[in-house]
C-alpha cells in the first residue's frame, strides 16, 4: 500500500530524514516510534504530500507522490499533530466542508458526516463551535474529518497527545477498530500505545530507521540472552563457584543481599547460555541443598528496548 524507498529530506543544512525505507502492507497497523525530533512527522508530511522530499521515492496505492499527488491525497486521511481545526466553525459545518473538499459527492455527504459523528461520538456537540470544545472532542473531530471520505489509508500523528487517560483509552479503542479494516500509520512516543494498537513497529531515531518488526520481535532482538532473577540462600562463594561452573548459566551479578538468621538471601540476575534455564537452576539449588524463594524469567520491556536503541 505504502512504499518508501531511500527517502531523504533536508531542511536547509539539517538532515531530517536519512535514507529511510519501509513498506506498509494493506490492512496493517504500523507504529512509528521515536523520540521528538527523530523524523516521524517529517516522514508523514512527505507521504501525505504536504512536503516534497529531497530525494527518494514514495508511492501510495501505486501512485507516486511526485507525479500524482492529488490521487495520493484522495486515498489518505491525515490527522496532523495537535489536531489543527478552524475554531470559528461548528462541528457539522466543518465536517461538511472537509467532506466537500475531499470530493465526497454531495448526495453522500450528509450520510457520511452522520456516520462519522456516530463513530466518533460527537452527537452531543454537533452545533458547538470547535473553539469551545475540549481537547478530547477536538481530537474526535480531527479523527472524523480524516475518515469522512472512507480512505484506504489513515495517517495519525501523535493521535493521543495531550489527552487525559480516559480519552486516551477511547481514542486507542477507536484506532483499533479502524485498524481492523484500514491501513493505519500512527506515530507516537508513548510505548504502551504501540503495544496496544499496532501490529508492527518502526523505530526512528536521529533521522534514521533503526529497527522494524513486531513488538515481540523487537524485544527478543534487543534483549539478546534471556535473564532469570533468582533469590537463593546459600554460602555466597559456593553459589558463585557453582554458577561459574554451570554450563547452562552465563554472566551473573548480585542485585541484593538480605541477611537472615545465619545466612543471607542473595538476589541474583543470571544470564542464560541458551534456552529457559529455570528448571536447571532449580535442580542445582536442590542438589546443593540451598534455599530458593524467587525464580523469575525477565522480559525486557519495550521502554528498555527503546532506550537501548535510541541512546546508544
Amino acid at each position: 500500500m505504502v512504499n518508501i524507498e531511500n527517502l531523504t529530506k533536508y531542511y536547509g543544512p539539517t538532515l531530517a530524514v536519512d535514507a529511510v525505507s519501509f513498506e506498509v502492507a494493506k490492512g496493517e497497523v504500523v507504529g512509528f516510534l521515536g523520540p521528538n525530533g527523530a523524523g516521524k512527522t517529517t516522514t508523514m508530511r512527505i507521504v501525505t504530500c504536504y512536503l516534497k522530499p529531497t530525494s527518494g521515492t514514495v508511492s501510495v496505492a501505486g501512485y507516486d507522490i511526485r507525479n500524482d499527488p492529488l490521487e495520493v491525497r484522495k486515498r489518505i486521511g491525515y490527522l496532523p499533530e495537535n489536531c489543527p481545526l478552524y475554531p470559528e466553525m461548528n462541528v457539522v459545518d466543518y465536517l461538511n466542508y472537509i467532506a466537500e473538499l475531499r470530493q465526497v459527492p454531495s448526495s453522500e455527504r450528509s450520510r457520511r458526516v452522520k456516520e462519522m459523528i456516530g463513530i466518533t461520538g460527537l452527537e452531543s456537540v454537533l452545533w458547538k463551535d470547535i473553539g469551545e470544545l475540549s481537547k478530547g472532542y477536538r481530537q474526535r473531530v480531527g479523527l472524523a474529518q480524516s475518515m469522512v471520505h472512507d480512505p484506504d489509508i489513515l495517517i495519525f500523528d501523535e493521535p493521543t497527545s495531550g489527552l487525559d487517560p480516559n480519552q486516551i483509552v477511547e481514542i486507542r479503542q477507536l484506532i483499533r477498530e479502524i485498524g481492523r479494516e484500514k491501513t493505519v500509520i500512527l506515530s507516537t512516543h508513548i510505548l504502551p500505545e504501540v503495544s496496544a494498537t499496532c501490529n508492527r513497529v518502526l523505530i526512528i531515531n536521529d533521522a534514521k530507521m533503526i529497527a522494524s518488526g513486531t513488538t515481540d520481535e523487537l524485544i527478543n532482538r534487543a534483549q539478546g540472552a534471556d535473564v532469570v532473577t533468582a533469590g537463593i540462600k546459600g554460602p555466597e562463594e559456593e553459589v558463585y563457584q557453582a554458577l561459574r561452573e554451570a554450563a547452562f548459566a552465563g554472566e551473573f551479578r548480585k542485585i541484593r543481599e538480605e541477611p537472615e538468621n545465619g545466612g543471607a538471601w542473595l538476589t541474583l540476575e543470571i544470564e542464560s547460555a541458551g534456552g529457559d534455564i529455570r528448571e536447571q537452576l532449580f535442580r542445582l539449588v536442590v542438589e546443593k541443598n540451598w534455599s530458593m524463594r524467587e525464580l523469575k524469567l525477565e522480559k525486557m520491556s519495550l521502554e528498555e528496548v527503546f532506550a537501548k536503541l535510541t541512546t546508544s
Binding site: Y11, R45, Y50, I76, Y86, E88, Y97, L101
Partner: protein, 238 residues
C-alpha cells in the same frame, strides 16, 4: 473550480464569524463618510471626485487588513497542513481566498452607496464619473487584494503580512507618481508611469474606461495571484 468555490464560501463566512469584520466595516464607513461629507455641504458641489480621490489611500490600509489573516493565520494555527493535504490544487485555494476577500470588499464598497444616493438626491452629478470611479475602486481594490494575499503567504505573522502588503502596495502606487518620476531617467518615465497603480485609477475616476487600464489591473491581479500560487506550491516553511 468547484473546490475554489467551496474554499471561497468558507473563507467568506469566516470573515463574519468574528466581530472584527463588523468593527472593520463600521470603521471604514464612518471614515469614508466623514472624509467626504465634512466638506461636501460647504463646497456645495454634486461631485464625487473627492471621494474617489481619497479612496486609494483608504484602501491602502484597509485592504491589507482584510487579507492579512488569509494565509498567515492558517500557517500559524497549523490548519494549512490539513488544507494542503486535501485533494485540492494549491491554485484552487488561492483563487478561493481571493474570491472571498473580493466579495467582502464588494460589500464594503456597496455599503458606501449612501453617498451617491445623497449626491443624486441633492444635485445632478456626472454619473459616468461615479460609475467609472466605483469600477476603478473595484479594480484597484482587487489589485491590492492580490498583493495583500500574496504578502500574507510570505509570513506566519499577520502583522508582518499587513506591513508587507502596505509596503508593496505603496511601492506600486509611488512608482507612477510625479515625485518618483522626476528621479527616473527620461526613457523610463512612460514605463514607470504605466506601472503605477494610481495613474490608471485617475482616468477611471474621470469616467473614462480605457481598455489599457483594464488590461493593466487584470495583469497586476494575475501576476500577484501567480506569485501567490508559486509561493504556496514551493513552500519550504513548515
Amino acid at each position: 473550480m468547484k473546490n475554489a468555490i467551496a474554499v471561497a464560501r468558507r473563507e467568506f463566512r469566516a470573515y463574519f464569524e468574528s466581530p472584527i469584520a463588523y468593527i472593520f466595516i463600521t470603521a471604514f464607513l464612518l471614515l469614508v463618510n466623514f472624509l467626504y461629507l465634512w466638506t461636501f455641504f460647504v463646497a456645495g458641489q454634486a461631485d464625487m471626485r473627492p471621494f474617489f480621490g481619497f479612496m486609494p489611500f483608504v484602501f491602502l490600509f484597509l485592504v491589507p487588513s482584510i487579507t492579512m489573516r488569509l494565509w498567515a493565520e492558517e500557517r500559524k494555527m497549523g490548519t494549512l497542513e490539513v488544507l494542503l493535504t486535501l485533494p485540492v490544487r494549491e491554485k484552487e485555494v488561492v483563487l478561493g481566498k481571493f474570491i472571498a476577500s473580493f466579495l467582502f470588499m464588494l460589500i464594503m464598497l456597496a455599503l458606501t452607496f449612501n453617498i451617491p444616493l445623497l449626491v443624486g438626491l441633492l444635485g445632478d452629478p456626472d454619473w459616468g464619473v461615479i460609475i467609472g470611479g466605483y469600477l476603478g475602486c473595484l479594480l484597484m481594490g482587487a489589485s491590492y487584494l492580490a498583493i495583500g494575499l500574496f504578502a500574507s503567504a510570505l509570513s506566519d505573522n499577520q502583522i508582518v503580512a499587513f506591513i508587507l502588503a502596505i509596503a508593496i502596495c505603496t511601492a506600486m502606487l509611488i512608482v507612477g507618481e510625479w515625485f518618483f518620476l522626476i528621479l527616473v531617467p527620461d526613457i523610463f518615465v512612460p514605463l514607470f508611469n504605466y506601472l503605477g497603480l494610481g495613474a490608471h485609477f485617475e482616468s477611471m475616476g474621470r469616467g473614462v474606461i480605457d481598455t489599457r487600464d483594464l488590461l493593466y489591473y487584470v495583469s497586476i491581479i494575475g501576476i500577484f495571484l501567480y506569485l501567490n500560487i508559486n509561493t504556496v506550491e514551493n513552500r519550504t516553511w513548515v
